[in-house]
């Protein structure tokens, strides 16, 4: 076991996958010689050669478009979009092409690829370096969407994503890259070095897609979340005196509905938490499913805590970010309902 940041876990997963399978290729803006603006692909070019890990022109459309062709050929492209905020130029290639190729060719052509992109705010990145667009992927049939919350899961989920025969959107909460950020922006930042989940096993292992993780057991309410918000949730729960069960979805689609339903059936109360904009966010889907599946167990309406319905502001970042204070308020609300 080695201690790793999330960045190192991503790099390690790449290295393991590329070592194992010569068809895995890595590309993206600045990912080659330089190793990525977040260093997630550092040294891969040196180790595997320029044909396995290379820089691309600044065209997200081109990156995904060529990756679709490569995947159809038989390679397994694992590409980086520099920030999720910049995936829109590639959205057509993702939605209309990657997601539907297997379907429209009745399985004759397929598109096994992983599209990695850093998401989320909390780094003073403002509206173009902070977005969490997961709901724009979960609405699209043919895509899988994964959001890890710690180095251990990151490596295993990324390896499982690379092994998957279909396109996987792999959203990396960049605020977690270097440490388990709990939303207390005004306290010293923590590092993965001192966190259990910073321990990453060497070699190949998978964390299966579609399996959620109960990261804290509890009996009074269920808090469903993913990515950065897992740590915010845990901090808020620790600071409250309510015994809240916290579930880390890990994979948004396919969704581990069973685990969610079991928990809410037990607790009777539910909060859904994410950083993305509230309206039509992925929380709406979770909420809809929970109210349908657990209607007779619910003692309070499912409560959504999410980013406001505005672009991500810069100076007001911490007013936007759904931090522990808002989550604690939500716990109180859902318990009092």
């Amino acid at each position: 076991m080695a201690r790793m940041t999330m960045i190192e876990a991503i790099r390690d997963a790449h290295a393991v996958a590329m070592g194992k399978d010569p068809d895995v290729v890595v590309m993206g803006e600045d990912v080659g010689y330089f190793g990525g603006v977040f260093r997630c692909t550092a040294d891969l070019q040196k180790t595997f050669g320029v044909e396995r890990c290379f820089d691309t022109p600044i065209s997200e459309l081109g990156i995904i478009g060529t990756a679709v062709g490569m995947a159809a050929y038989g390679l397994k492209p694992c590409v980086e979009i520099q920030f999720a905020d910049y995936m829109y130029p590639a959205y057509d290639q993702i939605v209309s092409e990657a997601a539907r190729l297997r379907y429209r060719s009745a399985g004759e052509f397929t598109c096994p690829m992983v599209v990695r992109m850093p998401t989320g705010g909390g780094i003073f990145g403002a509206q173009t370096h902070s977005q969490s667009p997961e709901a724009l992927f979960t609405h699209v049939a043919g895509l899988k969407t994964v959001v890890p919350s710690n180095p251990q899961d990151t490596k295993g989920l990324l390896l499982a994503s690379i092994a998957d025969p279909d396109p996987v959107i792999f959203l990396e909460p960049k605020r977690l890259y270097n440490g388990p950020f709990d939303g207390h922006f005004d306290r010293p930042s923590k590092s993965w070095n001192k966190h259990d989940l910073g321990e990453v096993a060497p070699g190949y292992y998978e964390v299966p897609l579609g399996k959620a993780n109960v990261v804290r057991e509890g009996s009074a309410a269920t808090l469903i979340t993913y990515g950065t918000m897992v740590h915010v949730a845990l901090a808020a729960v620790e600071e409250s005196d309510v015994d809240v069960e916290v579930i880390d979805l890990r994979t948004l689609l396919p969704l581990d509905l069973e685990t969610l339903v079991a928990s809410v059936t037990k607790t009777g109360r539910c909060i859904v938490l994410h950083e993305a904009t509230l309206t039509s966010g992925y929380g709406a889907e979770i909420t809809s499913l929970i109210q349908a599946e657990c209607f007779y167990s619910l003692e309070a309406p499912v409560l959504r805590v999410a980013g406001w319905d505005t672009p991500y502001p810069h100076a007001q970042e911490w007013d936007y970010f759904p931090g522990p204070a808002r989550v604690k308020r939500a716990i109180t609300t859902v318990m009092e309902a």
Partner: protein
Amino acid sequence: MFKERTPRLHVPEPELRPGDEPDFSHVDIPLAGAVRRPDPGENPEEMRDLAFSIIRVLNRKGQAVGPWADTLSGGELLEGLRHMMTLRAYDTRMMTAQRQGKSSFYMQHLGEEAISCSFHKALRKGDMNFPTYRQAGLLIASGYPMVKMMCQVYSNDGDPVRGRQLPVFYSSKEHGFFSISGNLATQYVQAVGWAMAAAIKGERKLSAAWIGDGSTAESDFHGALVFASTYKPPVILNIVNNQWAISTFQGIARGGAGTFAARAHGFGLPALRVDGNDYLAVHAAAQWAVERARRDLGPTLIEYVTYRAGGHSTSDDPAAYRPKEEGNAWPLGDPILRLKAHLIHKGLWSEERHTQAEAEIMDAVTAAQKEAEAIGTLHSGNRPSPRDMFEDVYAEMPPHLVRQRHEVGY
């Protein structure tokens, strides 16, 4: 100082509209044989002239002339003629079938048969086309079973893509025909990626990207050229300039200056401009580009100059936006008649054999049609199952889809 003028929006307009007399006298068409043929290995910067002319082989007398001639044997030409005639017969039958309500939609190739049929001859097994809806000739020329094509047109139970796609959006990996998307241009850049994969794997395969004149305006066209010029993989970038994009003429897509072929120059790539109604010229240009790819010299762009003689699709009536007889007036003629004339000139063909071949081909097409219709048509007979609707969204069906499928009762 200069005299300032108030700016105006310059909206390009075709010279002729419905009611006008067709007139192509302004189109600058070089004589057959007039355009030089540089070695494919020559520096692209030394051959920019080729993007501003039209490579032609067949002259008015039906002779093959000039440096681009003689890439095909008599036997191959006879086969080519048969392919084009088959495609036209197929189109005719399917247009009628659509009008009879046996299919939801159809798109024909009238006047453009030479391009896909002849291009295919320059490829070999393992190469991959990323076609648009107007290159079914690639399938016909590759020997793909016509009954299967018809089953897709009829969306019946024999449809290889299980009723999921529009009629003419075929797919055949084996026949080097990538699944057609429906979203214009998206596959242009995918073809570049496919060729990059061949280069990464070091395998001797090439890909051919296809796009229409109007669709060159899409972003994917640019993405394709950027990536192609950066990594120089073995890809041929084909533009079929049939002068119309539904109701808009090519001026809307290129602003009335330059040629589509010249788009390559900004990327340091070589470009050819070819008579798309000349089976021999198409093949010669394709072969030249194929040679570049197989010598690892990188991508080539080819613009095929042709004319969309029919409607855009069965939903379109071109009489609403252009002169009725414009198709017949197009000076580069009918590709089938031109190849036929050449073969007759060569003594390999005759009017009688042509008439007989027409009948034979139509018989074969009709027989295939019967076979396909025996399975079903859009609204009758055996059709793909609703169960198929849930398959192939993913390799393995996730729980939520299983649930939904059960809800439908499957």
